[in-house]
């Protein structure tokens, strides 16, 4: 099938280029005009690429993975996702597959920054006739949904994007196959809840109730900042908004920011920025000249393996959180971590904590559904996934509304939603400190808070 597509494209390009090349001058012989016959012959096989044909019993079930490998953004997270999916696939295949059929991953590069790049990547997979799509975040989710929706196969995505989820709920008939993790706005409300809980627990006594927010320039970070501000307002005076400091991606010198932070002297500081390396740089510079007594929360970035590696000792004591992370308390979590670390030669410090688990879970969600449904019957699979939650390493995956609910912000029962984990770097590794039932250790005030 792939070969057919390559030859199809090559033939058409060759024809077109020959013809247009001939436009360049007039004295070339006119024999090239005979070429147009070629592409129509080559075109025939690609029509066989209808999705229904992929589901011949006994053949492998194909999961499509659009993984960014060449662009300027998101490659590290996407690689993590790929690894997680490979782990799940190998485990399932080692256990005899799904109904005797093995699972296969169809991986393609995707340019997550342009709509046409996203379209091309997804169309490559739908064109290959995959039975499901598992995708880490793409920057522009609607472009992906535009292709995946009409295709109909289950599309499990790591997009924490409230607006994409609004689009889904606006047209469930078209986007009913879109299953996502909780939106980014929960980072905001979850953070404020976390602060309150921490204060109540007595582990931390804030020096004042001000919260400074360092806001990154993506819509993602702006949404989080807005949600945080709303949550602070809703806290009824328990917390108070300090200053919102805007930064751009690519910030290398944090000293102006640090100077502002020192001047404000807020009780809690939220660094609402997503690039791990830049957060590591922040940690280094902050640790060298800290604001005494302030709790510092970094957003999801430290989950990337490079954070600890770069920040080194400076990372000690920083708090961060994610809505789809890996815990380390339950048996499944530990087993997953051990398997992943064994397979990819990493350890607790250098393991990604978000996407490996999420994509691992998603492959398992699919395998679970395919155990009782026909992979070719997309509607049935979608219905099954929505109706049958399973327990994964990120938490309880309940896609009743297409979106997994979040504990503890949305629901109170940890067994009914995925967990919003909070970690603190303790002893050089990420240690879960909240929510309480998953916590490995309690919050420990870092050096500058003692």
């Amino acid at each position: 099938m792939k070969r057919a597509q390559i030859s199809l494209f090559a033939a058409s390009v060759a024809t077109a280029s020959m013809l247009l090349a001939a436009c360049g001058g007039s004295s070339e012989s006119s024999e090239t005009a005979a070429a147009p016959a070629a592409p129509s012959e080559a075109a025939a096989p690609s029509e066989a690429a209808a999705p229904s044909e992929a589901a011949v019993p006994g053949e492998p079930i194909v999961i499509g993975l659009p993984i960014a490998q060449s662009g300027p953004a998101g490659i590290a997270d996407h690689k993590d996702c790929w690894n997680g999916a490979i782990l799940a696939q190998e485990e399932i295949n080692a256990n005899g597959g799904v109904n005797g059929r093995s699972i296969e991953l169809d991986v393609t590069d995707i340019d997550i920054l342009t709509p046409e790049g996203i379209t091309a990547g997804f169309q490559k997979l739908t064109g290959d006739g995959v039975s499901a799509l598992v995708s880490p975040f793409v920057i522009i989710p609607p472009a992906a949904m535009e292709v995946a929706g009409p295709y109909g196969a289950p599309y499990l995505s790591g997009d924490t994007n409230i607006d994409a989820q609004n689009i889904r709920s606006g047209d469930p008939a078209k986007y009913g196959n879109y299953f996502v993790d909780p939106p980014e706005t929960y980072y905001g409300s979850g953070f404020v809840t976390f602060l309150s809980q921490l204060q109540e627990s007595g582990k931390w006594t804030p020096k004042n109730n001000k919260v400074d927010i360092i806001r990154g320039d993506t819509a993602y970070n702006q949404n989080i900042a807005q949600a945080t501000i709303d949550a602070i307002k809703a806290s009824g005076g328990a917390w108070e908004l300090g200053e919102v400091i805007d930064i751009t991606a690519g910030t290398k010198d944090w000293s102006p920011v640090l100077q502002k932070l020192a001047a404000n002297d807020a009780g809690a500081i939220m660094v609402d920025h997503w690039i791990g390396a830049e957060l590591a740089s922040f940690s280094q510079q902050f640790a060298a000249a800290p604001v005494d007594g302030s709790l510092v929360y970094l957003q999801y970035g430290p989950s990337q393996p490079e954070y600890l590696e770069i920040a080194g000792d400076s990372a000690e004591g920083f708090v961060w959180g994610t809505v789809i992370g890996t815990g380390n308390t339950s048996a499944e979590d530990k087993a997953f971590r051990a398997a992943y670390q064994a397979k990819f030669g990493v350890d607790d410090k250098s393991m990604g904590l978000v996407y490996p688990a999420w994509c691992y879970d998603m492959v398992n969600v699919l395998a679970n559904a395919w155990a009782t449904t026909d992979p070719a019957d997309f509607a049935a699979v979608n219905a099954f996934i929505a109706a049958n939650p399973i327990n994964g390493v990120t938490g309880f995956l309940d896609f009743t509304n297409g979106v997994t609910p979040l504990y503890p912000t949305e629901i109170d029962d940890p067994t009914k939603g995925v967990t919003h984990y909070f970690y603190q770097v303790q002893g050089g590794r990420h240690t879960v400190i909240a929510p309480d039932n998953d916590a490995e250790a309690a919050f420990v005030p870092p050096a500058w808070m003692k």
Partner: protein, 507 residues
């Protein structure tokens, strides 16, 4: 097709015999003097039969190529193919307009994608916020593009090429930062705007008809872009700008003949920018949104690679380059980073080994062939004929070389015969029977061309004669060559002879 007789080294042209009874009627494009597909009637000098000759194959190839581009995706009817060729059409349209700016206007502007982006974001924002329908979006994009073009063209007069290029590069970065940080435009999807009114209604979108309509709209965009290119580049503006191309000498010439090339450049820039703005709006309506990436350096580099691979400054180069690069990056996604490497290598190869991309190759090969011929010919001419060696490669007519070679040999021989004895013989008796050598010399002189031929002018019969040189142009009187007055006709004859001998010697 009739049997093609080969005459001389005339380049081969396709021709068809026509009905000799009927008068050949030349079909022209409406409102122009161009004949359709450059078909013209002519006589075959060998068979003396009338033929219909395709004098220029370029329009035909354009026609076939574009037809193929239109039909191919529809014939294949693959969702991915539609999307691929649709985006190729849009990128090609952008590149064609960029070619207009870089090639025709000679402005090294990198703000192309910024203009596209401004058109796209402006139109998309208005469409999302106020529900502007897509035809209106195109007009809005047109105006935004023109405005942008006007603003960008302002510093072009003041700044040197490279400074201008870098400044426009900075402008893209500026736009990117602006959109990123703007709450309105930065929007919901990390800088991307979505939910724009689309060209094809969304319920039709998934059907075959919708796909075809969408593709045809993109193809029409490319056609319009090519038409604008043709209209500007081939029209008066293009001519004036080619006359004042880029170097200072050309600019000096064009200001000497009164060309306001600055204004012409601004005009071309404005036209192309307006078109780019409209393309941006079209892109937003085509995709249903737009993303920040239009302002990024990465995409700009890819676009540059496209026009470099195809051949800078040509519309067909822009189109083919786009097909190749977009084809590689959007179709072979499973190759991962290697496909970007491939694009880079292609760009590198085209810059290292071709003179001007794929479309420069033909001219390049031709030049290599010509150089070899010219060296050979120069070897011949330097020995026998009278040329400045620089001229040799420009002479294509072999007969001329042979003729000149003969002339040169003849003159060498005659020069050898001119001795004081001969001159004395002529002085004594300018007219009448002469020795063989003198007779031959005189015959040679008589055969000379009329312009600048010496003649005797009789001021006053029998007493006053002067030597004049004929102008060679009817109605233009001869000019007097010197002040000398000769008392007798014979002396005047001899003076003419001496002048000719002198000229022969110095030739």
């Amino acid at each position: 097709m009739s049997k093609q007789p080969l005459i001389g080294r005339r380049s081969w042209r396709p021709s068809w015999p026509v009905n000799t009874e009927k008068v050949f009627k030349r079909r022209r494009y409406l409102g122009t003097k161009r004949s359709v597909l450059r078909l013209s009637g002519s006589y075959n000098p060998k068979t003396l039969r009338r033929e219909l000759v395709l004098t220029d194959k370029k329009p035909t190839f354009w026609l076939i190529g574009l037809l193929l581009m239109l039909v191919l995706p529809i014939a294949v009817s693959n969702e991915r193919f539609f999307a691929l060729f649709g985006i190729i059409c849009i990128y090609a349209a952008i590149n064609v307009m960029w070619t207009l700016i870089i090639g025709t206007a000679g402005l090294q502007s990198f703000a192309t994608l910024a203009t596209v982006g401004v058109g796209a974001y402006g139109a998309a924002y208005l469409s999302i916020t106020y529900g502007v329908p897509w035809p209106l979006m195109l007009i809005i994009g047109l105006f935004l593009g023109a405005l942008m073009g006007f603003l960008i063209s302002l510093p072009a007069r003041r700044l040197d090429g490279l400074y201008y290029a870098l400044l426009t590069l900075g402008l893209s970065e500026f736009c990117r930062n602006f959109v990123t940080q703007s709450d309105q435009l930065g929007g919901k999807f990390n800088g991307a705007l979505f939910g724009v009114d689309r060209i094809v209604p969304s319920d039709l979108m998934t059907s075959w008809l919708g796909q075809v309509l969408l593709y045809i709209s993109a193809f029409a965009l490319l056609l319009v872009a090519l038409a604008v290119f043709r209209w500007v580049n081939g029209g008066r503006l293009g001519l004036l700008l080619r006359a004042s191309a880029t170097n200072r000498e050309d600019e000096a010439f064009s200001s000497a003949i009164g060309i306001n090339f600055q204004r012409a450049r601004t005009w071309v820039f404005m036209i192309a920018s307006a078109a780019l703005g409209a393309i941006g709006a079209f892109y937003a309506a085509y995709i249903g949104g737009t993303s920040l990436q239009v302002f990024s350096l990465d995409l700009l580099l890819l676009m540059l690679a496209m026009i470099v691979i195809g051949g800078l400054g040509r519309a067909e180069g822009a189109v083919i380059g786009t097909i190749i690069v977009v084809g590689i990056t959007q179709w072979f996604t499973e190759w991962g980073p290697w496909r970007i490497v491939l694009v880079g290598v292609l760009a590198l190869l085209s810059v290292l080994y071709t003179r001007n991309g794929i479309f420069g190759l033909k001219a390049q090969l031709k030049e290599i062939r010509q150089r070899r011929q010219a060296l050979h010919r120069a070897g011949l001419t330097s020995r026998y004929a009278e040329f400045l060696p620089q001229q040799a490669p420009d002479i294509h007519d072999k007969a001329m070389i042979v003729g000149r070679t003969f002339e040169r040999k003849l003159r060498d021989r005659l020069r050898g015969w001119i001795t004081p004895v001969i001159i004395e013989e002529h002085r004594r008796k300018p007219l009448g029977q002469h020795s063989d050598h003198l007779e031959r010399i005189l015959n040679y002189f008589r055969q000379g061309p009329i312009p600048d031929k010496y003649a005797v002018y009789c001021e006053e019969p029998f007493t006053s004669y002067r030597v004049v040189a004929l102008s060679g142009v009817p109605g233009v009187p001869p000019r007097v060559v010197d002040d000398k007055v000769y008392p007798s006709l014979d002396e005047a004859y001899h003076a003419v002879f001496l002048r000719r001998v002198n000229d022969l010697r110095s030739s």
